[in-house]
Amino acid sequence: MKKCRRCSKPATLHITEIRKGEATEVHLCETCAKDYLQQADTNDDSSSEFEFDKLEDASEALDDAEDPVCPNCGITFREFRKQGRLGCPHDYVAFRNELLPLLENIHGQTQHVGKTPRQVAVSPQRQDLQHQLVRLKSQLKAAIDEEKYESAAKLRDEIHSLESQLSEKDLGPQ
């Protein structure tokens, strides 16, 4: 019988994770499996108990050379994963692709629908495009993960056209 990868108890659950088309097996005992699947953030004020290192995602497979860096604050994605805290607001742009699966994992969602500050309020039309863009990008990622390259190519074209629409709008008055 296999042992749990976290503790030495016998593993009763065998989870097959498929990331970027690669299957990895994770063997866990019942207790650790519950943690693994829930990854519950029960801490109230600081979120320090959220265990990022237990979340497996694409970044694990990155070579050092591919570890993205935020040009604004200098933090690398790997550094963030180690400390669980981002370095600056721009990280959400710099690590967008890496953060999307993480946010999906934490919140089950990747699109904010709550309050908007009045100072950066943007036109609803522009916001729609942005939301659409975010949605397409996550679909693209899923398509690549599932090796559906044909639909991935289509999605990529749609993303490019949306992105150029958005940058045209940047020039005009909003």
Partner: protein, 355 residues
């Protein structure tokens, strides 16, 4: 603000009134916010932190709101004073033990507190006695809008309010209720309730204590997700489970009264007796016994103590509060003596007030 004036005050949120106050101690909403042009705490050096603090202190001291906020420079406080603010739930442990320029802006009745330079640049909180989500949200929403009109918040159309930890981004909201669940602990049904809540992604944690056995049987129930739902939806998700939890606790209380009233009454009366006569007592034992007495008051088994006084004792018996009241640094055994004295005095006062 003079910390000593806080010592004289009783926190508004402990006044033991408000809807469902036999089980619900308080309702709290907090919002995490950051300034767009500054790095988060982990990448902010001392001079950056000082600039953030200066800007926010100025904004917070001059908000056009009905309740003015007084700014306390937390970095200049000694350890007991920081612990004192922590015990009153005005700052977090992380903020209390942090480094560099930081502070907290507090309303006179302590129901509003805004931490500066915690994990996020701003942590707003509104606290109310009893179950009071609507009034908490109204007030914190206005406070947030007033601050947001004066600074540029870090915000992204997809990820909402940007926070140092991605577990808070989106709305940045944590809506929580502090509940007292002694009967569920006594009947050992508390774990079942927890599992039920976790299944629907509502977080529960013990207050004051470590692990699953919360000191004093206090628990905090709060939302887990902050992104992908509106603030109101998130609040409603927590709000919806509260009547269920209250129902379980009250059912457990009735069951105890039906099947084990003599034993229950005995242990509650003995708890009150110990608190009234102890000459030295640890905070752990005190919390345990106070919890038992609080249950006794709610069941009508104890009639010479009021809930507000009891609620306040849970805070007043803590180390920094004892030392502030004495005006001196006390070691652990001195604190145990001071704690026992305070308990005897307060419970005697209550007895004469209720007779």
């Amino acid at each position: 603000m003079d910390l000593n004036s806080l010592t004289q005050n009783d926190s508004e949120w402990l006044r033991g009134t408000g809807p469902e106050s036999d089980v619900v101690i308080s309702t709290r909403i907090r919002l995490a916010r950051n300034l767009a042009e500054f790095p988060f705490a982990s990448k902010a050096d001392d001079s950056t932190k000082a600039r953030i603090e200066k800007q926010l202190r100025d904004v917070l001291s001059d908000l056009p709101l009905p309740k003015p906020l007084s700014y306390i420079n937390v970095a200049s406080l000694d350890e007991i004073e920081r612990q004192f603010l922590l015990e009153r739930q005005l700052i977090s442990r992380e903020h209390s033990e942090g480094t560099g320029a930081r502070g907290v802006a507090v309303s006179r009745s302590e129901d509003v507190a805004v931490m500066v330079n915690e994990e996020d640049h701003l942590r707003l909180q509104v606290l109310r006695s009893g179950l009071a989500f609507d009034s908490c949200w109204d007030e914190i929403d206005r406070l947030d809008t007033a601050i947001g009109d004066r600074v540029a918040y870090a915000y992204d159309e997809a990820f909402g309010y940007l926070t140092a930890c991605p577990t808070n981004c989106g709305t940045g909201i944590r809506a929580s209720v502090m509940v007292h669940l002694p009967a569920l602990v006594l009947t050992r049904e508390i774990q079942k309730v927890f599992h039920g809540l976790q299944k629907i992604n509502v977080a529960v944690r013990g207050l004051y204590g470590e692990g699953s056995q919360a000191m004093g049987d206090f628990y905090q129930i709060s939302n887990q997700y902050t992104l992908g739902m509106t603030e109101t939806q998130i609040i409603d998700k927590v709000r919806e489970v509260i009547p269920v939890v209250l129902g379980f606790e009250r059912k457990a209380r009735t069951a105890l009264m039906d099947s084990k009233q003599p034993e229950l009454h005995d242990s509650i009366a003995r708890a009150a007796g110990t608190l009234r006569s102890a000459q030295t007592i640890s905070s752990e034992e005190t919390m345990h016994l106070l919890s038992s007495v609080r249950l006794g008051v709610n069941l009508g088994l104890i009639t010479d103590v009021g809930l507000p006084a009891l609620n306040q004792l849970f805070v007043q018996i803590q180390p920094a509060h004892l030392q502030k009241a004495k005006g001196a640094t006390l070691n652990s055994s001195e604190r145990n003596v001071a704690r026992a004295t305070l308990l005897r005095t307060k419970l005697e006062q209550e007895r004469s007030a209720h007779s």
